[in-house]
Amino acid sequence: MADNAGNSNAQKQNRSKSTNLECKNLYDYLKSRPSNLLEKLYNHPTICLAVYRELPDLAKQYVIRMVFVEQPVPQAVVASWGSQIYSKEHNNASKVLSDLMLWQEAAIPGGLLGWIISPTFKKNIKIALLGGGKTWSMSSALEADSKARDVAFLDTYSQERWECVLHYMVGSQQQEGISADAVRILLHAGLMKRDEEDGTLVITRQGFQFLLLDRQAQVWHFILQYLDTVQERDLDLVECLTFLFQLSFSTLGKDYSTEGMGPGLLVFLQHLREFGLVYQRKRKAGRFYPTRLALNITNNTNKSTPDIEDDHPKGYIIVETNYRVYAYTDSNLQVALVTLFTELIYRFPNLVVGVITRDSVRQALRGGITADQIIGFLKQHVHPRMLESEAKSPLPPTVVDQIKLWELERNRLDYKEGVLYSQFLSQIDFNVLKEYTESNGVLIWFNKEKRTLVINKAAHDDVKRFWKKYSKGS
């Protein structure tokens, strides 16, 4: 068993990847797009800005150093910028820049190879930083809004809209329904599926995982799925992406004009309005307010540290070392999420108390949620009081470790396909084959007394050949 442990882990991850929710970041998303599309995207300063922010630290420095240089820079020179000890990070940075077509190889007189920043990207990132070029499509001048909305209003509005979608997913009855369009996206994303018997919509295992993500990651994932369906709706992907990033770089609490937006974009805007990414008083109001959901849309790394000046919904969960969970909330949705992996004990108007038990966690694991997702969820919504303590992790380490152990408990058995060799005529024959397979690393199990051994199925042909040669020779 022991020597299989490392192996089994790798296998398990491979297996679970196919069924787990895949959350791409901007880099992964863009990398998988065709190169001509990338070139088109880089024509927009907003996208250049967004791409730049997602680059690794070193790559950012390289780009900044090269943006103001007109000739190609020798590769050896670029390599000498980073210190030797961190050459791995340097290679990673170079790879990302090449993957995203941000720089290209270029020959330098003298036969050296050099890097040169993509001219389109260079031009447009300079526009974003220094000015020049056209204004972004949504920033035409506006009269002051007579009924201007403040940030607090926008926050409640966007939260309501977004929770509407989530409520729909968990099937709670307390909220109004959502549009057929949104349902189609949920189905397309595999977050919900039609029940085979009665055709009603039910949440899938990916759906549960989706619910446990933090708000920003949810929005980003959802929007990515939406963008996949954009072409079917006769919308231009580049146009939509550009607009999306313009929104993400807008200022909260400020109104923007719809003037100069094409019919396609107006449709897109209405979709965003439904999910709460923008607020519009009327469909034809001529102005809209971006909400917090739309801001910094790509910044979806799982946040463990809160942002300064952050007024996101505050955390509400307290976890004690005795596995008790206190959730200060009156929202049915949040209670429903907590009950995914806890056993409820008490319920008060503004507080539920539950306890994390082996059974409750195992039930969640059976539902396809991973231990990391549970821990991640608890961490995101942890009560500010738990963050104040000096400890490195806001959650009690004993609870975190135990949840991980409960997950590992389920992976004690490790399945491998093998071929059984038995009925050897002599101990010598057995030993020869055992040694051969062992030295090749394909032996899975053997028993000396019964002269049987099991080898990896993939190696069966090779071992068979060896055995034939051996038995002929003797």
Partner: protein, 298 residues
């Protein structure tokens, strides 16, 4: 059985999510030598500093920025200011937030420049400006939400000289910065700044004397843009040796051997019978070469 490695995944993502605050102190004192000779240089410097500031904001969404002007008679914050700026809209393809930084900074800087009287003060009071920046940083550290991490640094851009008259103020701000983990970077435009260089050394910051003012922006992008955690991954100019010699209180000269008052620790280059700082009378001249070993009676 497998062993759970506690919190292994938490480490790697941490540095990217920390907020970093950059406070830029721009010396706008018209009395500094550089500006007395060619006042238009200031425009070039301001432009470079604003672009640099915007590049800092461009690095990460969470990054924060403050700009101060250190003027002849006072220092003040010129970005962010207290006013509301909902009316600032894009004029071209520049990112709105960057436009706002540029406009607000220029507007407030103009106010500072015009408010000034005629008196020429050659030395900029940078120590005071750094002290204000430290108070500002201390407030943000106090009021940040629990669990958030805020890395702060101060960048001083100046063409002024530094004389020892501010020595004590400089040392106090450097030690405070060191205690608060604030890095002080110095970009010297005109003259070599010995005292500020000591500050960089004490707080682990970088000191750069810009060889050519024309390339100011490029120098700043190369040297000062990377944050301290990234700096160790890059090859940056090696630190110069710092001269930590003391300047005597009587003649402001750098000295190798001096006399220190046992009551107030003032430094003198020659023996004098009375301490000019604390007015203590020294009873017996200390023997020059040997440290007095025997006890003296009152």
């Amino acid at each position: 059985m497998n062993i759970v490695l506690p919190e292994e995944s938490q480490q790697d993502a941490s540095s990217a999510e920390e907020t970093s605050l950059l406070v830029i102190i721009l010396d706008s004192n018209p009395g500094q030598k550089m500006l007395r000779e060619s006042p238009h240089v200031l425009t070039h410097c301001v432009d470079s500093v604003i672009v640099f500031a915007n590049t800092h904001l461009m690095q990460k969404v969470q990054n924060k920025l403050a700009i101060m002007a250190c003027h002849s008679k006072s220092s003040q914050f010129i970005y962010p200011d207290q006013g509301k700026h909902g009316d600032i809209r894009q004029v071209d393809g520049q990112y709105e937030a960057f436009t706002a930084v540029e406009k607000i900074t220029k507007k407030n800087l103009a106010k500072v420049l015009t408010s000034d009287g005629s008196a020429v003060i050659t030395e900029s009071l940078l120590a005071g400006a750094i002290a204000m920046a430290l108070c500002y940083i201390a407030r943000l550290q106090r009021t940040k939400p629990p669990g958030a991490k805020l890395n702060c640094r101060i960048l001083v851009v100046t063409g002024s000289s530094c004389s020892t008259s501010q020595y004590m103020n400089y040392m106090n701000v450097f030690f405070t910065a060191q205690k608060q983990n604030v890095v002080i970077d110095v970009c010297a435009l005109d003259q070599h700044l010995n005292l500020l260089q000591q500050g960089c050394d004490i707080t682990n910051g970088l000191y750069l004397k810009v060889p050519q003012l024309q390339g100011l922006l490029q120098y700043m992008m190369w040297v000062f843009l990377p944050e301290p955690p990234i700096r160790e991954k890059l090859v940056l100019p090696p630190p110069l040796k710092v001269d930590y010699r003391a300047a005597c209180f009587c003649h402001r000269q750098l000295i190798d051997i001096g006399y220190v008052c046992s009551v107030c620790l003032s430094i003198f280059c020659k023996f004098s019978p009375i301490c000019t700082t604390c007015h203590t009378v020294f009873k017996m001249p200390a023997l020059p070469a040997v440290k007095p070993k025997k006890r003296k009676k009152m």
